[in-house]
């Protein structure tokens, strides 16, 4: 036999002096780390993913989690990770499955971009006391407006009047340019979905359903929900299409561009089976491509088909992963009847993705926004379609920079989950989430208080919105459209010439 276990990543310790044997940790840990044996709490550290549920719930602060200090002989190429992966794969012969976003140390360009503020030559604006407008419309816009001049009788006088001739396509009206990304019911719990739906309604923004269909409990929030059509077409019927405020066609996802999805049968509970409209316990497989889209003209056809099915009353978004050729693809989408293109960067989150994809496929969202915005402007169509950016947006500054690079709005995913309690332990695909977020087990789901979680998510969106207003005010801008694509207000720090060129910004000092 070849011993093939890898040492646990964490070491969990219960301080016996502090512990009062209340067994809270035993109950709270859904991973089975704790067990009581006589007057002692025994720990199985190898099961721990540092989700901190136990630490947060321990009434006596008795638990500590350390990185396991076990030493691997150092090697710059054969890192601990490389060796562990090989041991795991040689034992199982399987694809490594991982959660959350890209975990490799690629540059985070957001952190190498700095913002501008007014000094002397124009005044900064105080957003708390002066008007500051973040309202954003997502959808198709006309290239120009046309007016008819019609004579009308007003107070007995015949007066000519300019009447708007151009028809404006349906748009989503956002009070803040932050939406919540598509995370399916199935991957997430119903309580998590309810909390997010309440929050977006309160904040005047929108959330995506993901591919899991729309649970009836969310119908009251349907006017703030974007439904999704992915390659699996789960839960898609006429009702689903007409219920939401917009429909998104998912082509790809930043965390795993080019491959489909797979919700394991364990997560297809009775409720999930209902919204997905598949039998309980069966795997929900989303094919890699949409099999009615093998080319760009087929995408145009699906867009139009959805428009036909909804009598052209609902905006249709198309989501793609940010890949090398993202600008050309986005341009192709812009020339279909799509109303918005969603670009998901390679740091985008996921419940489950093969690690090799998560860590190696796709390009940074900052570069993708810049490339897409530029290409659409070169083609003279930027103004007619909205750009939604997503994938690793962590704070209001990231939102602000995304918009200045050229996005209309952003989707946040992981950030909203963290607001609800997620600690980014990356084991969503196991369905064991101790926080009740990425699980379907009733006893775990019940842990997530909908009201409180909704409040947290709303707080987060509100706090970022306030910060965006402050940043805008400092830049001397009082409506968000004047930030959109305004790369003059960005500077790079520590970026090389090629990177600056790709981002379309100058280096600080210039």
């Amino acid at each position: 036999m070849i011993p093939s276990t890898v040492p646990p990543k964490y070491r969990v310790e219960v301080n016996p002096d502090r512990c009062m044997l209340c067994e809270r940790c035993v109950k709270e840990c859904s991973w089975g780390v704790y067990r009581r044996e006589g007057n002692k709490i025994i720990t199985y550290s190898n099961r721990c993913g540092a989700c901190q549920r136990c630490v947060s719930m321990c009434p006596r602060d008795a638990i500590t989690i350390h990185e396991n200090p076990i030493c691997w002989r150092e090697h710059p190429l054969w890192t601990k990770e490389a060796r562990e992966d090989i041991i795991n794969q040689s034992r199982t012969g399987c694809i490594l499955l991982s959660g959350m976003g890209n975990a490799k140390e690629y540059p985070i360009y957001y952190d190498k971009i700095v913002l501008d503020a007014c000094q002397v030559t124009n005044p900064s604006i105080d957003p708390l006391r002066e008007p500051m407008e973040l309202r954003t419309y997502i959808g198709k816009k006309p290239k120009k407006l046309e007016f008819d001049f019609v004579e009308e009788e007003i107070d007995g006088k015949r007066i000519k009047k300019a009447k708007l001739k151009t028809k404006i396509a349906p748009n989503l009206k956002l009070e803040t340019p932050i939406m919540i990304a598509h995370m399916s019911y199935g991957a997430l719990s119903l309580n998590a979905h309810k909390a997010m739906a309440k929050a977006v309604k309160e904040c005047g923004t929108f959330m995506g359903t993901g591919e899991g269909g729309l649970h009836k409990a969310l119908y009251p929030y349907a006017d703030h929900i974007i439904t999704q059509i992915a390659s699996g077409r789960f839960g898609v019927n006429e009702d689903y299409l007409s219920k939401g405020a917009a429909i998104e066609i998912k082509i790809g996802q930043g965390a795993k561009p080019g491959i489909g999805g797979h919700l394991p049968g364990e997560k297809v509970s009775a409720e999930v089976s209902m919204t997905r409209m598949i039998p309980e316990g069966s795997d929900a497989i989303s094919p890699a491509p949409h099999h009615d889209i093998y080319s760009i003209e087929d995408l145009a056809q699906l867009v139009r088909s959805l428009k036909e099915a909804t009598r052209w009353k609902v905006p249709i978004f198309v989501k793609i992963a940010a890949v090398h050729n993202v600008a050309a693809i986005a341009n192709g989408i812009a020339t279909s009847d799509a109303d918005a293109v969603v670009i998901d960067g390679f740091k985008g989150g996921t419940g489950a993705a093969p690690k090799v994809f998560r860590d190696n496929v796709g390009i940074p969202i900052e570069m993708a926004i810049a490339a897409v915005d530029k290409r659409l402007r070169d083609e003279g169509v930027r103004n007619e379609i909205s750009i939604i950016a997503s994938g690793g947006i962590r704070n209001s500054a990231d939102v602000f920079k995304s918009i200045a690079l050229g996005a209309d709005a952003v989707y946040i995913g992981t950030a909203a989950m963290i607001a609800m309690g997620c600690r980014v332990c990356g084991r969503c695909y196991t369905g064991q989430c101790a926080w009740g977020i990425a699980t379907q087990k009733p006893e775990l789901v019940n842990r997530l208080d909908v009201e409180e979680a909704s409040k947290r998510v709303a707080n987060l969106i509100k706090a970022w919105t306030l910060e965006i207003k402050e940043l805008l005010g400092a830049a001397g801008i009082n409506s968000i459209e004047s930030l959109r694509g305004n790369r003059d207000r960005l500077r790079g720090v520590g970026l090389n010439e090629v990177e600056l060129k790709a981002l379309g910004i100058k280096h600080a000092g210039l």
């Binding site: 007014c118 124009n122 290239k143 407006l145 300019a162 708007l164 003279g380 409506s479 694509g485």
Partner: protein, 361 residues
Amino acid sequence: MCGIIGFMSRKKRLISGDRIAIALDSLKERGNGQGSGYVGYGIYPKFKDSYAIHVFLDNVPNYDEIREKVKNTLEKYGYVLKDEEIPTKEGILEKEHIPWRFFYDFDEKYRDIEEDTMVKIVMEINDKIDGAFVFSSGKNLGVFKASGWPMEVAKFYKLNEYKGYMWLSHARYPTNTRGWWGGAHPFNLLNWSVVHNGEITSYGTNKRYVESFGYKCRMLTDTEVVAYIFDLLIRKHKLPVEYALNAISPKFWKEIDNMPEEERKIHEAIRMTYGGATLNGPFAIIVGTHEGMMFMNGDIEKESAMVGLTDRIKLRPLVAAEKDDLAFVSSEEAAIRKICPELDKVWMPDAGMPVIARIEK
């Protein structure tokens, strides 16, 4: 900080250029001597139907080679009726550039697209010919500008020798870009001339917006973009002028939400469609034109007009006044009174609401 003033005779009375110079001189505190400029409308009656193209040629020994390149570009599309150095007085300014003018007609085959072609020519010369810069390209109008104080520039160009019915002017205090001749105001394209006080914080957005319609921002200053936006919205898209100005200085959403349905829809559509044309940050501008405008009541103004406009939260000053046939817009009332002490009416326009002076019929 900059000073701007413009006036217009609504009866098209011709007024000597020294009046505007005196008025602007009284605003010189608002500038720093690094740029002053004027534009006169109606100053070339002999060539009133031809384009008057003003070009800065770099003052280098072989400047006539640059001039020939400009001329060749022009002659690709039409005929130069006359070209000469713009008369200047020596010894006042260091002559960084030689100002040159061409009176120019298009070939018959470009008649229907001559305005778009002129825009193309201007972009081509400014973009491709080293050492040449077109700074005035309208008909029967001319821009005169340079680095210097208002009076220096007026004397340099012998402004008292020109008579026009509308004059706009600008004393510059450059902030973001160095003071060079091309960077002085007014900025002109076709029959649009813009003088501008303030700093457009949305410049990056506006620049990229107009560039996607084929304009090229070459001036290193935010003012040229204003001229392009006026050209795009009013000449190309033919928006009623009031709505075009609403696009530039939009109503607040709060106001829009409370409007009657039809009006609300219009303003919503304007903001959705023309967000890229919105000027943000502090500004007061005066725009002169005889490009032709359509008003929201269907009126079409083929004659000249002068428009004054501020940003919607009024971060830059603007005063308007009237006396008989004369209409004035200025940064300060004093500058108006300097050349017209008795006024019929003086008022401060509301933030974001345009003042429009038109020729009397």
